[in-house]
Subunit: 316 residues, 2 copies
């Protein structure tokens, strides 16, 4: 997954400690360990995934656990969608400081990072796979978790579960993931930094051109890469779920609503109606995270838009 | 029209020098004169209406002129939709400082105000009816212009033109106008000043509750007050035209898009397809005005959203 090393590091979501790849600062302090190398044992009940429903990089991992029934062997520890007042580099496990994650028995994610590296000073990012035996973060790379959980945990995955990262599609999946990261996810972050009308419009074109490519791809096949659900679909789904609710609005990516791209809109809803996708999709958490940095709502720029109406997601 | 005296004075559009009623400051310096009292002569070719397609108070007057064929006897002098760099209290007649209005032969509106009152220091607001003989602003109240042009200029209005302000509907029209002003126009301004989630949501409810009332009214009748087009329709139309393009987005009034209110959406498009409405509707001018204070586009907060797609207005 070397071609992902750079992607996502410098985007806003990374600053927000929700990352595709760990930030350099934390990556140096907390080195990701691997199942593929045998460095991490494959053990039922040994790990929990710390994730947040707001995070487009942690959510695909949470979806993957449910899709592959790995939620039966790996725990899930969701963090609260908003920062706590005055704390901008950590995630808490509840709305109140005192609430503990039932598996980890800690109130904030940084404690797991500090168990791994006592001098930890980075931003505690999600996703983070934590070893329940030691309380340490053993991997905090969305890219690597998606790949390794798909391939290394096969003995715990039922035969009828989808194969999300088949070797024969690996190149295509990695290329498609990169398109999603570069032309959708990163653009939605970069656009808010655009200083001129021209730069803004160039980024809008980049974004909608990519949507048009995917719209075309989905004309004749049910999934991005054909007849098979893959990791790329997980990554695209979390982008589409955020589109009308956040990007269309907050990032002025409002050339068209998602419903104007019928193949993408039907595809997104089709995935949404799969249990693994729906139960890891929380529109309120997504809105809170992107519109409100902290729990303190001060002024119009932070108030949570009442819309758009997301009820259409419920119709098939 | 006494019940309109207060309305609109303290809203943001007034600050922007686009007003339903003149600001107190300019009203004291430039007293509005009346056709009803005979103070102003009814004379073909004597006046021009200074207006801007961006302004929801000047635009209904421009629509009225065309609807009643008064455009044959009163001129129209449109101002440029954007402020000129460094000038925030005046409107220019072109994109360049040097461009003159062909009727008035001036480059900026304040010159007409200064002819009326040489010590004029207020904000030059639109609409402004200017006497071409003297170059002076003789009336700059949208409320009064709509009323007086409907009623006092009858001898120039063809018999088959609509009666926009019939005496038998006067109370209803004034009440409805007040609803539009208080619950739609002012809310869209006030909402950006809301300091809390609760205040914001209260204003959203106020706005959408009013839309729901109008949606219901239009269920069984073609116009707001029945079978007859009135001034209230002109005022509501300019609000609806701005809804998806500005308010839905910039003012977080995004509970539903206009198309989710089918009666209002069909009504708005039906009016739009009348020549008098369409030729005074300029989506680009509206967007420029509300997103860009001046011609200098600096940073994301000022870039003009590429969307939403307004092509649906063209379909009947």
């Amino acid at each position: 997954m070397n071609n992902h090393k750079k992607a996502g590091r410098d985007d806003q979501m990374s600053k927000n400690a929700c990352a595709w790849q760990p930030q350099l600062e934390t990556a140096e302090q907390v080195r990701d360990k691997s199942f593929a190398t045998g460095e991490l044992p494959l053990e039922k009940g040994r790990y929990t995934l710390v994730w947040g429903a707001f995070c487009p990089w942690a959510t695909p991992v949470a979806i993957l656990l449910d899709l592959l029934h790995l939620d039966q062997v790996i725990g899930k520890s969701p963090v609260y969608a908003l920062r706590h007042t005055g704390v901008d580099n950590d995630w808490f496990f509840g709305e109140k400081d005192s609430e503990l994650d039932p598996l980890l028995q800690i109130n904030r994610l940084s404690k797991s990072y500090q168990k791994t590296e006592s001098a930890f000073t980075g931003r505690a990012s999600v996703p983070a796979l934590v070893d329940l035996k030691t309380g340490k973060v053993v991997n905090h790379s969305s890219a690597q978790l998606l790949s390794e959980l798909s391939r290394q945990w096969k003995k715990f995955i039922p035969k009828d579960a989808p194969e999300l990262f088949p070797v024969r599609l690996e190149t295509q999946i990695l290329q498609t993931n990169q398109q999603i990261i570069t032309n959708l996810a990163q653009v939605s972050s970069q656009i808010e930094e655009s200083a001129t009308q021209e730069e803004y419009e160039r980024l809008v074109d980049q974004y909608f051109d990519q949507l048009a490519v995917f719209e075309k791809q989905l004309e004749a096949q049910p999934y991005l890469l054909g007849r098979q659900l893959t990791l790329s679909d997980l990554l695209l789904f979390v982008q589409l779920v955020r589109f009308d609710v956040v990007y269309y609005y907050k990032n002025k990516l409002n050339k068209q609503p998602l419903s104007a791209l019928p193949n993408l809109w039907h595809y997104a809803r089709r995935l949404y109606h799969l249990q693994a996708f729906k139960q890891n999709t929380d529109f309120l958490a997504i809105k809170q995270h992107f519109y409100q940095g902290t729990q303190v709502v001060a002024g119009f720029s932070n108030v949570l838009p009442v819309g758009p109406d997301v009820s259409a997601w419920e119709s098939r």
